[in-house]
């Protein structure tokens, strides 16, 4: 695993998130549930909780946008870059953007929203890309069965090195 320079982290125990808009590829209920499930991968292993809010500014602002979307990192159409996220911090810190030109799915076809979101939330919590091929934070997309999915060991160690271990 790897961390960003200066190892930025959330200095709070409850991190809020807000889904600003939804992809038409999935129902809103599916997106809500998938985002919550992706964040839970982390709250299962570190002492952070995530709370969805529906107005105002959240720590993690989530959008589906295509091409240029105002952050100097335009998306590139279908395939290529699927999504990106900002490391923890004020302002845009933690914000997570998904490329609307992708076909978002909950299956092995297209781009699996759960796997991509879980990867991006790793960045939003302070993880950089890992060179471990089986890690969630490996930079390239690789579909794996999401049924009963747990965070790989490399990612657990990486995020626990920042936030500590969740006491059960």
């Amino acid at each position: 695993y790897a961390h960003f320079d200066n190892r930025p982290k959330w200095e709070k125990t409850v991190v809020t998130y807000r889904i600003i808009n939804y992809t038409p590829d999935l129902s809103q209920g599916d997106v809500d549930a998938t985002i919550a499930k992706a964040l839970q991968l982390y709250s299962d292993v570190i002492p952070l909780d995530f709370k969805q809010i529906y107005s105002g500014t959240a720590d993690i602002m989530i959008v589906f946008k295509r091409r240029d979307h105002g952050d100097f990192a335009p998306f590139d159409g279908q395939s290529g870059v699927l999504a990106h996220a900002f490391s923890p911090g004020e302002g845009h810190g933690g914000d997570t953007h998904f490329d609307e030109d992708e076909t978002w799915t909950l299956t092995s076809g297209g781009a699996n929203l759960f796997l991509v979101a879980a990867h991006e939330f790793g960045h939003a919590l302070g993880l950089a890309h890992s060179q471990v091929r089986t890690a969630l934070m490996y930079p390239t997309y690789n579909y794996v069965n999401t049924e009963g999915y747990k965070l790989p060991d490399d990612d657990i160690q990486g995020v626990q090195a920042i936030y500590g271990i969740r006491e059960t």
Partner: protein, 84 residues
Amino acid sequence: LCGAVPTTSPSQEELSKAQDYLSQFFSKVGVSAPNTVWRSSLDSFEETLRKMQDFYDLEVTGQLDTNTMDVMNRPRCGFTDVSQ
């Protein structure tokens, strides 16, 4: 027996795509004017390509070979591969 196989040089389009990729994901300073930055410094391009090949556990050749281009063509996260 000679085990050599014919190789083909990357096309200008492939080279340009690789330059874009390295600028976007392996440039710590975030400079992104690939056609001007890399052309003036071929060593820098090769050196960065080596870093990329090392990161992805590819054979480190500094050459834009098929395996390297395959990795560059995979769908991926937009965050850089070098911490910053």
